[in-house]
């Protein structure tokens, strides 16, 4: 088999993914994270349904350092998926397909995600 010695095209992992490709895969990843995060929402609602003791337990768990870290992760995932989702809806409406526009809207999503995450936690922690 002479074909064995011929060069192979590089695998996906060899490339440095462009920003738009990274943002695309991140949308999927955050979507999966949020689907898992729905378990936390269900747990919190169930705790509220079971009564004050169960609610106090859930609140203590969510209010622990690890709980806060998980909540911070979900906040970032939620804002990213929300803003990038709006970007996708705008694309679906037929607007913003040019590559410079796609980069611009991508940066808007990233800045909005960071800004709203900081704002949400600043307000939440100051209450």
């Amino acid at each position: 088999m002479t074909s064995r010695t011929r060069p192979l095209s590089p695998h996906l992992q060899v490339y440095r993914l462009p920003m738009l490709a990274l943002m695309s895969i991140t949308h999927r990843a955050t979507g999966v994270v949020l689907a898992i995060g729905s378990l936390l929402l269900a747990f919190w609602l169930a705790a509220a349904a079971y009564g004050p003791d169960a609610y106090a337990f859930a609140a203590a768990l969510i209010g622990s350092p690890i709980g806060y870290l998980v909540l911070l992760g979900f906040t970032v995932a939620l804002y990213y998926h929300l803003f990038n989702g709006i970007r996708h809806l705008v694309w679906d409406a037929g607007w913003g397909f040019e590559i410079p526009q796609a980069y611009k809207s991508g940066y808007i999503v990233l800045v909005a995600t960071a800004a709203l995450t900081v704002l949400t936690w600043a307000i939440g922690l100051s209450i």
Partner: protein, 127 residues
């Protein structure tokens, strides 16, 4: 056993006319989830550190119950469609694909119903 090809079997019947159903539903639920998630985040931030009684009163109001049920329903439909899309793209092999897609449908339905019943119990059964 028929000797006709699969193409021969379906030719002339036209399309199934359901090709865009999942994509359209994904976008419809996305539009509904934009205001619903913003409402959830604002509500949670506004209730940081609230007592159980305060939280329970909020959770029992007709507006909260309505919006929470809508959020859970559209959210879990959106999650199911998104997770299925990821599985359809990355999981190869007919059997494991079918099993994982069915598992996702069952799991999202269970989480959604469990959370919804919790909301209703908290609202109607009382502390």
């Amino acid at each position: 056993m028929s000797l006709r090809t699969t193409l021969g079997h379906i030719r002339g019947h036209g399309s199934a006319k359901t090709g865009t159903t999942q994509g359209a539903l994904q976008r419809l639920t996305a539009m509904a989830l934009v205001p619903l998630t913003l409402w959830l985040v604002i509500s949670i931030v506004a209730h940081v550190g609230s007592s159980y009684e305060h939280m329970h009163a909020w959770l029992s109001s007709p507006w909260t119950v309505s919006l929470m049920l809508l959020l859970l329903f559209t959210g879990m439909v959106h999650a199911q469609l998104g997770l299925q899309m990821v599985l359809d793209d990355y999981v190869h092999g007919k059997c494991i694909k079918s099993v994982s897609v069915i598992a996702v449908k069952f799991a999202t339905a269970l989480v959604g119903v469990y959370a919804a019943v919790s909301v209703l119990r908290a609202a109607f059964v009382g502390v």
